[in-house]
């Protein structure tokens, strides 16, 4: 079982949090902070597994994480999951994001956290791995997006126009935030299919 999935950036700002066990909002924030603290102090070339984390830890649980450019993807799992399998799942997740957002970068995750949630929901459900085939995931996401578009129809159009106008008028569009595309570099892990 996967207990929690967290994404945060190099400064510990949460970009997505999904807990498959109930924690109060305060505890959730504490867990995010603690996990960030544990993960961020690790060097780049150490292993991707980590025990400890007092809140969500316990002897059976492990943190498995990957670090891409500005973001950390952390999965907290128990012993029924294969460590290397989860590492691969993270890779699939990121590649799927990359496909769905077309060159994903942190900004995509910042502004479209709902979409990230939807993509994640096609991969992991209630803490169990639902689908690992990227093409299948992308197909389902596309179909749902299409459905959403078809529903928006008339009602959606003015809203889009308005948001376009709003965007134009905003002087403080974050232009100077220059976060490069997340380049996906996998440490030479053998393929896992």
């Amino acid at each position: 079982m996967i207990k929690a999935i967290l994404i945060f950036n190099n400064h510990g700002k949460p970009r997505l949090s999904k807990f498959y066990q109930r924690y109060s909002e305060d505890t959730q924030q504490q867990i995010i902070r603690e996990t960030f603290h544990l993960v961020s102090k690790r060097d780049e070339n150490v292993c991707n597994f980590l025990e400890g984390g007092l809140l969500i830890g316990g002897s059976d649980n492990k943190l498995i994480y990957r670090h891409y450019a500005t973001l950390y993807f952390v999965f907290c799992v128990d012993s029924s999951e294969s460590e290397l399998g989860i590492l691969d799942l993270i890779q699939v997740f990121v590649e799927t994001l990359d496909k769905c957002f077309e060159n994903v970068c942190e900004l995509d995750l910042i502004f479209h956290v709902d979409k990230v949630h939807n993509i994640l929901a096609e991969m992991v459900m209630g803490g169990m791995v639902l689908e690992t085939n990227m093409n299948e995931i992308v197909t389902q996401i596309d179909a749902q997006n299409k459905l959403e578009k078809s529903e928006a129809g008339l009602a959606g159009a003015p809203a889009r126009a308005v948001s376009a106008v709003k965007n134009m008028n905003l002087p403080e569009i974050p232009r100077n935030i220059n976060i490069g595309d997340i380049s996906i570099k996998v440490p030479n892990l053998p393929t896992f299919k």
């Binding site: 150490v46 949630h117 929901a121 169990m128 892990l189 896992f192």
Partner: protein
């Protein structure tokens, strides 16, 4: 109204959407909290609007704020509103928010039940999907109970997308509602062989998760999993299965033997590291389970260790980590094979990666020997000094203690060294493990008598330097050691050299800042100390010194009397009074020391922590028995209870065991003493420890004195454990030399006698004699302790509820709660009221199923009969775990050929035990039907049957059960299972042209009395790509297609997929109707775009959708008692038909009616049958079908005459085709 709408949408333009919110927060870095609270106010306003889009937008923003740590549970009701929006876009937002913030404590969650049920049965698969995903996060026991049945239905959905989600969520349902496990399990098992890999993987996932917690219940699935393992190519599935086998092998060693070969093959063949790793892991598990008496597997161990070494040596840190992890598992059973890689592991201890160091630490546990313990611990101590993070340092600390104390201090040769190590460890700042060190100090000091003197001196030093330990609050954890120090100094005060100084140290004002429980121990032990000083002084005749010390106590004790801690206060004031009294006596020059010391006479023996639990209940003692008979029920409640103890009964119960026990006890005690006397490691306790110490012969030759001279023990806070390492080396060297000398003289003089534990020593270790002859007192256990070890089970384990026997047949009471229909009260539980004779006739659907099977191979049956029986038997064997394990065929052939669609399709889902039984019954039934015609067959069969029956009488005894179980299942089948069986298809042709063929089926909606679902299968017959399919019908007044909100009646509904050449797919459309008494026809058009190399063309296909009356009926089972009542009620109209020229068998005929017209058989006698069905709007339809020579007559009764006549007409048509 219109104005309001307009106003609403104008307002909307200025609402922030999620992006605006995020942007806003980013622009208000200075006053983020203020900005967000402002936004929350806006959101609250938005939630008050009627417009669902505005609400959805608000909820979407709330979900984001939840991630930032804001509690959004106040909006739970609004979230439910958004969940129930009809548009998928909004629904998804609602469910996402719910999954993030709903939990069992959310009170409005019970309002969602019906909404979720509606979404689960939605024709749009994504509505269902999103509901399942959401539910998986917030399912509660109530939701699980109410929805279990709906979800189970979805497990057989036509779309794999829904199936896999439904299968996966079942695990959560089981957890919350364990009663659902047994009824749902057969279907779950079925899904292991689902054609879709995703569904299969989900089922494997769920079963693995279940089996991990309660593996023994899933052993019977081993053959199936084995088949999957040898056939599957999906690594995810393989990993899960292999992990599962790892959990199963400890329970069934034979399974392990069977697994070794295929796993070894996988290890050699796979290129995926993840799979390789899991294989190695499971092989290790197998080897562990086989470890007793299986010498020929050393090759496998070698293979594993070798593969792991490759992993550990890999430059990839992940593999290194996992290699070490797996290595530690081998260590437990095959320490030797791991020990040969000590170099590698010690190397990993210096790795820069903490995770890897931790894993290496685990392994060290098994690496130590008497020889290298000091060396390894020294290395660890260096790490302790270097470690910056507290977690890792604490881990090091516990590991050092673990390593040293393992198997009763087996590897420690010099306890002085160990005490020094413990004292050194007290210098750690901010550790959480002070109590661990303290426990070790106490344990060693109490159990190793020879070391007490040294321990006491060290502890006295600790007490003297207590200010270093307790000075700052950060060191709080470590001050626990003072607890141990104070106790040791007090208890063994006779060893103290400068007791006065220690006593003074304990009386320092600073002590009052320590935690209460430590102060309490201080207070208690300063009296012990005081007592021994007093004795000393009195013996020496120094009366003044004795009075001085009393005075000191009286001066200092009041600071403890003022303590806020109750325990400290109580002890201190008690003792203060005592000492004041002593002072009085001293003034009168009365010698008091003897009496004071008598307070603390006697020795405390170590008692095993589990001792209390292990005391067996004496024979004849029944703790549940009443001491007094409880008052009988007839007595009025206000009557006063009688005195609890009757004289009579006391007399009665007393004499029984004490005498017997006393005798027994004495006998046992004697036996134990005998045993202890023979045990060289046990020292009998004697009342005064110091005396004992003096006359122990073994103690005299302890070379303590020499060592004492060379080690500067008195340096405060700086014990030098390192010195011991050098000393030890020297000592060993000397010993060796001596031994060599001895060897020359006398070849065989073994020193083995002196060893405490000699079972595990290797040759080389035997050369090292411990520096002290140490006696370790074993912890005491009660005389007749039970040897059991099962005392660490957590009663609150949530998975315990899932420990359910799955092979037992289902009882009727275990049915999943089904949403009740209007006539539900007519159903009677067969257990309670129906006499067993009738039972057979009440299995409508089951029969139907069987009929179909029969129909299928009726022609071949007679010739094949014999063969089939054989095949069946074979199959049975395959399923039988014992058989499977014992014959051990080569893995390739494990997947035996399926003997025929009949057995595999119908039987796969049932538990094995039931299967046989069922077949017997089936045979019996067949006999009834065909018996008249061919009596020969009957006899032949009868024989077989008898043979079978005699084979296991047990099963036939269970028969009663089985029939009940079948019924339960048949009921479920009737309501849930609308899967068409192969030979009969309910799909009718809708329209066809060269490009596309469409067939359809109509089914009533259980949840909604005015809706039917039309499933249409689109099959692309061309070589072109078909896309943009749109289906539209011309609504009639009565029947309308359900279109998304806001679209006009002329809009078509897009088919949610495209069709590549040769592919078919299914889409569902919902229609609403008002009246269902008449058949309906709707005209419609399917438009689509044909795309091929030449370009794309727009095509149309017209069709007529025929809603027959039968399609409004829902197969509903009915028991004969309810059926009789219904007929008696007289509310029903009657009509009848007769069809001539029927040649097919009666069974076949009934099957057709059941299948095409959605009826179920209530009762059948010879060639007469009563049948029942119910329309979606609750009309009851009862039929009496009679078969004559060549004709069939059907009498029908129904609450609506029109519906009845239409139904009968349709039936006539069906039958006349036969």
């Amino acid at each position: 109204m219109a104005l309001k709408m307009v106003k609403g949408s104008i307002d909307r333009m200025f609402d922030k959407n999620l992006q605006d919110l995020v942007r806003g927060i980013r622009n208000h870095k200075e006053d983020e909290a203020k900005y967000i609270s402002q936004c929350i106010d806006e959101i609250k306003q938005e939630l008050k609007q009627d417009n669902i889009a505005v609400k959805a937008n608000a909820v979407c923003k709330l979900t984001y704020l939840q991630m930032l740590g804001y509690d959004i549970s106040w909006a739970a009701f609004n979230i439910i509103e958004v969940m129930s929006a009809s548009k998928f876009t909004f629904k998804r937002i609602g469910y996402l928010a719910a999954s993030q913030c709903f939990h069992e404590g959310t009170d409005v969650i019970m309002l969602t039940t019906n909404q979720i049920r509606k979404d689960l049965s939605s024709p749009n698969q994504y509505d269902t999907g999103v509901a399942l995903t959401g539910l998986s996060c917030f399912v509660t026991p109530d939701l699980a109970r109410d929805l279990a049945n709906d979800i189970m239905t979805l497990m057989s959905h036509t779309k794999p997308y829904i199936r896999k989600k439904a299968v996966l969520i079942m695990y959560k349902v089981f957890l919350k509602y364990p009663e659902s496990l047994r009824p749902a399990f057969p279907r779950l098992k079925e899904k292991l062989e689902d054609p879709d890999p995703g569904v299969q993987s989900a089922a494997v996932n769920v079963i693995c998760e279940l089996a991990r917690r309660n593996p023994k219940n899933y052993l019977s699935l081993a053959p199936l999993f084995f088949k999957l393992m040898t056939s599957s190519t999906n690594n995810w599935v393989l990993i899960k299965i292999i992990k599962l086998f790892g959990a199963l092998t400890p329970l069934e060693p034979r399974l392990g033997k069977k697994l070794i070969e295929p796993l070894t093959n996988l290890i050699h063949s796979t290129s995926a590291m993840s799979l390789l790793y899991e294989c190695v892991n499971t092989v290790i598990a197998v080897l562990i389970s086989l470890s007793s008496g299986m010498p020929n597997h050393s090759a496998s161990i070698q293979l594993c260790v070798q593969k792991l070494r490759i992993l550990i040596e890999d430059s990839d840190q992940n593999l290194k980590y996992l290699g070490l992890l797996a290595m530690s598992k081998i260590l437990k059973t095959h320490p030797k094979s791991v020990q040969s890689h000590k170099d590698l592991i010690l190397q990993c201890l210096d790795d820069k990666d903490e995770s890897i160091r931790l894993r290496a630490l685990d392994l060290l546990y098994g690496m130590v020997s008497k020889k290298n313990l000091m060396e390894i611990v020294k290395k660890l101590m260096i790490h302790v000094d270097k470690a910056e993070g507290t977690t890792y340092r604490d881990e090091l600390l516990t590991k050092i203690i673990d390593i040293c104390s393992q198997s009763n201090y087996q590897y420690i040769t010099n306890f002085e060294w160990y005490i020094s190590i413990l004292v050194e460890l007290t210098r750690l700042e901010g550790t959480r493990h002070g109590h661990l060190i303290a426990a070790q100090m106490l344990d060693v000091a109490i159990r190793v008598k020879a070391i007490r003197k040294f321990a006491v001196s060290q502890m006295a030093m600790l007490l003297d330097n207590a200010h270093l330990i307790a000075s700052n609050t950060q060191r709080n954890g470590i001050c626990e050691v003072l607890y141990a120090a104070a106790w040791i100094c007090g208890e063994f005060s006779e060893h103290l050299e400068e007791a006065n100084q220690t006593l003074e140290a304990m009386l320092r004002p600073k002590v009052t800042t320590l935690p209460g429980h430590i102060q309490a121990v201080y207070v208690q032990n300063m009296v012990k100390l005081y007592a021994s000083i007093l004795q000393q002084k009195e013996q020496a005749g120094e009366k003044e010194a004795a009075q001085e010390i009393t005075q000191l106590m009286i001066e200092r004790l009041p600071q403890f009397v003022q303590s806020a801690d109750l325990e400290v206060q109580e002890r201190a004031s008690c003792i203060l009074q005592l000492i004041k009294y002593i002072q009085k006596l001293q003034v009168k020059e009365v010698p008091v020391a003897e009496e004071v010391i008598a307070l603390f006479a006697g020795e405390l023996n170590p008692v095993a922590p589990k001792a209390q639990k292990k005391v067996p209940v004496p024979e004849g003692l029944d703790l549940d028995a009443w001491i007094n008979e409880p008052p009988s029920d007839s007595e009025s409640e206000d009557e006063k209870p009688k005195t609890i103890f009757h004289d009579e009964e006391q007399r009665h119960s007393k004499p029984r065991h004490p005498e017997m026990d006393e005798e027994e006890l004495a006998r046992r005690r004697e036996a134990r003493k005998q045993e202890q006397a023979n045990n060289p490691f046990y020292i009998k306790s004697s009342p005064s420890p110091q005396k004992r110490y003096q006359d122990t012969p073994g103690v005299e030759h302890i070379p303590v004195v020499q060592i004492d001279l060379s080690v500067p023990l008195k340096v405060p806070g700086m014990p030098m454990s390192d010195q011991y390492v050098k000393l030890e080396e020297e000592r060993r060297h000397k010993q060796k030399l001596e031994k060599d000398k001895k060897k020359k003289k006398q070849k065989k003089e073994k020193r083995g006698k002196h060893h405490r534990h000699n079972s595990l020593h290797t040759e080389s270790e035997e050369d090292i004699a411990p520096a002290h002859h140490v006696d370790i007192i074993t912890e005491e256990m009660p005389e007749n302790a039970l040897p059991s070890d099962e005392d660490d089970k957590d009663p609150n384990d949530p998975y315990k509820a899932l420990d359910i026997d799955l092979d037992k047949p289902l009882a009727d009471s275990e049915k999943l709660p089904v949403q009740r229909h209007r006539n539900a009260e007519a159903l009677k539980t067969p257990e309670s009221e129906v006499p067993p004779v009738e039972k057979k006739s009440k299995k409508p659907k089951k029969k139907e199923k069987k009929h179909k099977e029969k129909e299928k191979d009726k022609g071949k049956k007679k010739e094949k009969e014999k063969k089939v029986v054989e095949e069946e038997e074979e199959e049975k064997k395959e399923e039988d775990l014992d058989f499977w394990l014992s014959t051990a065929p080569p893995p390739g052939s494990a997947a035996q050929p399926q003997s025929g669609p009949q057995t595999s399709a119908a039987v796969a889902s049932e538990p094995e035990g039931v299967k046989k039984e069922e077949r017997e019954e089936q045979q019996e039934e067949e006999e009834e039907d065909e018996g008249k015609k061919s009596s020969k067959h009957k006899k032949k069969k009868h024989k077989k049957e008898k043979e079978e029956k005699s084979k296991d009488k047990k099963k036939s005894k269970k028969k009663h059960h089985h029939s009940e179980e079948e019924m339960a299942e048949s009921v479920q089948n009737g309501t849930l299972d609308d899967e068409p069986l192969p030979p009969m298809s309910s799909y009718r042709l809708l329209a066809e042209n060269p490009y596309i063929k469409t067939t359809y089926d109509i089914q009533g909606n259980l949840q909604n009395d005015s809706q039917v679902t039309v499933s249409v299968i689109f099959e692309n017959k061309s070589t072109s790509f078909l896309k943009s399919m749109e289906l539209n019908v011309l609504d009639s007044l009565n029947t309308k297609m359900l279109r998304p909100e806001g679209s006009s009646v002329h809009d078509g509904i897009p088919v949610p997929f495209q069709l590549p050449p040769g592919i078919s797919n299914e889409a569902q459309f919902v229609f609403t109707l008002q009246s269902i008494v008449m058949a309906q026809k709707l005209k419609g058009t399917l438009s689509f775009i044909v795309k091929n190399d030449e370009g794309s063309t727009h095509e149309k296909l017209d069709f007529k959708l025929h809603f027959s009356c039968a399609s409004y009926l829902i197969t509903t089972p009915c028991y004969s008692d309810a059926f009789a009542k219904l007929l008696e009620s007289g509310d029903l109209h009657m009509s009848s038909i007769k069809v001539d020229g029927i040649s097919i068998s009666f069974q076949h005929l009934l099957a057709k009616i059941c299948f095409h017209h959605h009826f179920s058989v209530v009762e059948r006698v010879d060639s007469c049958a009563s049948m029942y069905s119910r329309s979606i709007q609750g009309h009851h339809v009862c039929l009496l079908v009679k078969k004559g020579e060549n004709s069939v007559s059907i009498d029908g009764k129904c609450s609506d005459p029109t519906l009845l006549s239409n139904l009968l007409d349709e039936m006539k048509e069906t039958l006349s085709k036969c």
